[in-house]
């Protein structure tokens, strides 16, 4: 096993030296982006809800990959655990529980929806064309991130500056728990 891994590592490093880091990053970006978009379209266009959910799953993984590219490996891990591991599973549970038939797919106002989407997209593009993306630079440069590790960086900020929102977030989860039970349990409201 280990000779194989060492060979893999050496060939990747070799390729990186050959092609350069930038090209690698770009290639990976376009791959991830492409898959994300294709799977997203499949989510909204698929007839079968289970297929929609599963393509959403693929999308989540690729988004996680995008996060890794951006040096946010903690977020990537969280993305996979929470979204792919919990939320999607919930969706699949519900879809299978409710045992849906495949009915008519699109809404009456299908054309209007597509049209609106396109128009808004065009406007967003136009808005982008006019904007310069800039802002105050913080001090968490990529080097520092690599040195600290993403987890530690997030931890440092969250438990000091953003402590209160953190507590509120836990309250939100509590409320969600209670609400879900109350809403979904049979007969609890009548009592």
């Amino acid at each position: 096993m280990s000779p194989f891994l060492t060979w893999l590592e050496r060939s990747i490093l070799h390729t990186r030296k050959r092609v350069g880091d930038h090209l690698m990053t770009q290639l990976l970006f376009f791959y991830f982006a492409g898959v994300i978009i294709v799977t997203a379209i499949y989510v909204i266009a698929s007839r079968n809800p289970i297929y929609s959910a599963l393509s959403l799953l693929v999308m989540f993984f690729h988004v996680a990959g995008l996060y890794v590219l951006l040096n946010a490996e903690f977020i990537a891990a969280i993305q996979v655990i929470v979204y792919a591991g919990a939320i999607l599973v919930l969706y699949l549970f519900v879809v299978m529980l409710l045992n849906l038939r495949q009915e008519e797919r699109y809404h009456r106002h299908f054309a209007l929806g597509i049209f609106l989407g396109l128009v808004i997209f065009v406007e967003i593009v136009l808005a982008f064309a006019q904007t310069k993306f800039s802002g105050t630079q913080g001090d968490f440069t990529a080097a520092k991130l690599k040195e600290l590790g993403d987890t530690q960086a997030i931890g440092q900020t969250m438990y000091t500056t953003y402590l209160f929102p953190f507590e509120v977030a836990s309250l939100i989860l509590l409320v969600a728990m209670v609400g879900a039970i109350v809403l979904a349990k049979k007969g609890i409201i009548e009592k």
Partner: protein
């Protein structure tokens, strides 16, 4: 201290009104006990009026401002009181007659459903009249002028379930309004010229505008003359001068106490009082004075001719009031306002007496007012009979009763002022003859001769109780004595001394003249002639009146039907106005205004019905709208 009692004079009756009114509103009305509040209040005013009179005689005029009512730019209006000799005598008149009438009412209106309401309104009226008399500026005068008119409306329609009473009250108010319109125009004109409405300022400033003219519909007329004429139209309305006299006879629909109080002694005299109070203005315009005298004289004669043939005893006395008011107005127009006010005072006494006596007769006969159904009541109603007789003597002008002195004073002044004055004297003399005639016609038909009373009324026939007869006696006493204030004793004329300084300060009034005694004799002879003629026609040869009426039927009908003035007004004015009002109501009020208002409501509803279709309940419609909104915002952002 003196000022305080002056202020209490009007405020006591007002307090009575408020107290009785509050009791009525609270549901636990005072009912039969209302007079315990009203009568002491007016008696208190009476006492303070005597005090005021005394202190004015010794101390001179004084004033007090209660508060500033309205300020607008340079215009300031305040409510206050001003007491001088003229005001003081008017205060005495109003409070004495008011007290007597209110005590009389206790008996007359006993058991009436609106007993407390009646006393409340009478107190309100007394308050308004007192404030009018004590006003120190034109605005306050006008406000309380309207107030007494309003109280008159309330009181005439006391038995409001009767359509005739309601109609009479409306007629009184509307005809008054016509006069008040002219009055208000006069006030406006004064304000534009002088800039203030205080008596003192107006009297001082107005003479400066004597030469100016103003153009009215293309005709140039002296500004001061115009003012005086406009003010006089107010007096015409309030004092029932021709042609605005039509409301007074119909006002007899109201209970007799208010006929006595309002339509004999107080409210109708407000017009004469106003002329006297504003005599400095009238003096500036001889033309207006001439008009005033002419209208007064015409009214006096006109009303007397109508009184000759009326069959309702109250109407006879009502037309007599109109006629005597004409005398007073004529006197003021001839520059003898002292005589006019003197006659106002004596007339207040004996006319109130006459009305209250009529009331006593009506009360005794259980509501009968037609003298064709009366007769021979002398033995049944002795006190009423004798007081009525005294009142009649006073009205006719027989010495030594009050009416003689005042009426004679007016006639003397008329003759002495020369020129047209002699013509007015002649009219006055003829009217005096007619006056004596009709009042004794009334006495002989009601109290003497065979009884034509209906059997039902005969059963309840009784002399009125003391609460009714005592005021009669008091007023009879006054009718005899008040005139002596005008007696030229040792060259000192009481009334002249009191009112002269106020009403004619520059004139050197001569009460002694070579013509005094001859003219006096003429007055007496004429009055006696009228009396004797009436006695002949109605006592000695009672069949004569009918034969005379048959010989001149046209004249008889003209007199009986009040010279058809009401019918004329109806044809010319009333019908047209009613048609216009109906038309306006239908078109403007119902179609346009109601249509507009309802239209607004209907539009809101229709719009809402349309707009609520947005709430489809469809989730994706809402999402669509949100996306649309976002699109619009983006577009706006992009286009900036």
């Amino acid at each position: 201290m003196v000022m305080l009692t002056d202020a209490l004079i009007p405020l006591l009756p007002f307090a009575a009104f408020v107290i009785i009114g509050l009791f009525e509103l609270s549901g636990r009305g005072l009912r039969d006990r209302a007079h315990w509040i009203a009568v002491p209040a007016v008696l208190g005013s009476l006492i303070f009026s005597f005090a005021a009179f005394g202190s004015v005689l010794s101390g001179g005029p004084r004033g007090l401002t209660f508060f500033t009512w309205a300020v607008s730019g340079t215009f300031q209006a305040s409510i206050g009181i001003h007491t001088d000799a003229l005001t003081a005598v008017m205060l005495l008149l109003v409070t004495i007659v008011s007290s007597a009438v209110q005590i009389y009412t206790i008996g007359y209106m006993h058991g009436d459903r609106g007993y407390a309401r009646f006393f409340a309104y009478m107190s309100l009226f007394t308050f308004s009249m007192l404030m009018l008399v004590m006003a120190n500026n034109l605005l306050q005068l006008y406000v309380f002028w309207e107030a007494v008119g309003f109280c008159s409306y309330l009181l005439i329609a006391h038995w409001y379930e009767r359509p005739s009473a309601a109609a009479a009250a409306s007629k009184a108010f509307i005809v008054n309004r016509v006069g008040d319109f002219g009055f208000s125009l006069g006030i406006f004109l004064i304000f534009t010229l002088v800039g203030s409405l205080d008596y003192a300022k107006v009297f001082a400033e107005l003479p400066k505008h004597v030469g100016e003219t103003i153009s009215v519909a293309g005709v140039e007329i002296g500004v001061v003359t115009l003012i005086a004429l406009l003010l006089f139209t107010g007096a015409m309305g309030k004092s029932a001068q021709f042609p605005l006299h039509v409301w007074l006879p119909d006002a007899m629909e109201g209970p007799t106490p208010i006929s006595a109080l309002i339509h004999a002694a107080t409210m109708v005299t407000a017009g004469v009082f106003m002329i006297a109070r504003l005599i400095p203005i009238f003096n500036l315009s001889p033309a207006a004075m001439g008009v005033v005298a002419a209208v007064g004289a015409c009214t006096a004669l006109f009303a007397a001719t109508i009184a000759l043939t009326q069959n309702d005893i109250k109407r006879i006395v009502a037309y007599s009031t109109v006629s005597q008011l004409g005398y007073m107005v004529m006197a003021c127009g001839l520059g003898a306002s002292v005589a006019g006010i003197f006659h106002l005072l004596t007339h207040g006494a004996f006319k109130a007496l006459l009305f209250l006596c009529c009331g006593s007769v009506i009360h005794a006969l259980s509501g009968e007012q037609d003298l064709r159904k009366m007769g021979g009541l002398k033995s049944h109603l002795p006190v009423t009979y004798w007081t009525f007789y005294i009142g009649a003597l006073a009205l006719a002008g027989i010495p030594p009763l009050a009416g003689f002195f005042s009426k004679d004073e007016i006639l003397f002044r008329a003759f002495v002022s020369g020129g047209a004055g002699i013509f007015f004297w002649g009219v006055g003399v003829v009217t005096a003859f007619l006056t004596a005639f009709y009042i004794f016609r009334l006495i002989y038909t009601v109290f003497h001769g065979p009884s034509r009373v209906e059997p039902n009324a005969m059963k309840h026939l009784h002399e009125s109780p003391a609460v009714i007869t005592v005021p009669l006696i008091v007023l009879a006493f006054l009718s005899v004595t008040v005139g002596w204030a005008g007696l030229p004793i040792h060259g000192f004329n009481g009334i002249e001394a009191v009112l002269g300084p106020v009403l004619s300060p520059e004139e050197h009034t001569e009460s002694s003249s070579a013509l005094l005694v001859p003219l006096m004799l003429v007055s007496v002879v004429v009055a006696l002639a009228g009396w004797m003629t009436a006695r002949y026609f109605y006592l000695t040869r009672p069949e004569l009146p009918k034969r005379l009426a048959e010989q001149v039927p046209a004249l008889y009908r003209l007199s009986l039907n009040k010279w058809y003035v009401d019918e004329l007004y109806d044809r010319l004015i009333v019908r047209l106005t009613v048609r216009v009002a109906n038309g306006l109501w239908r078109e403007v009020d119902v179609r346009m205004i109601d249509g507009a208002v309802n239209g607004v409501g209907w539009t809101a509803l229709a719009w809402a019905r349309m707009m609520r279709r947005i709430q489809t309940g469809q989730l994706q419609h809402y999402a669509l709208l949100m996306a649309l909104g976002a699109l619009v915002m983006l577009t706006v952002y992009l286009l900036r």
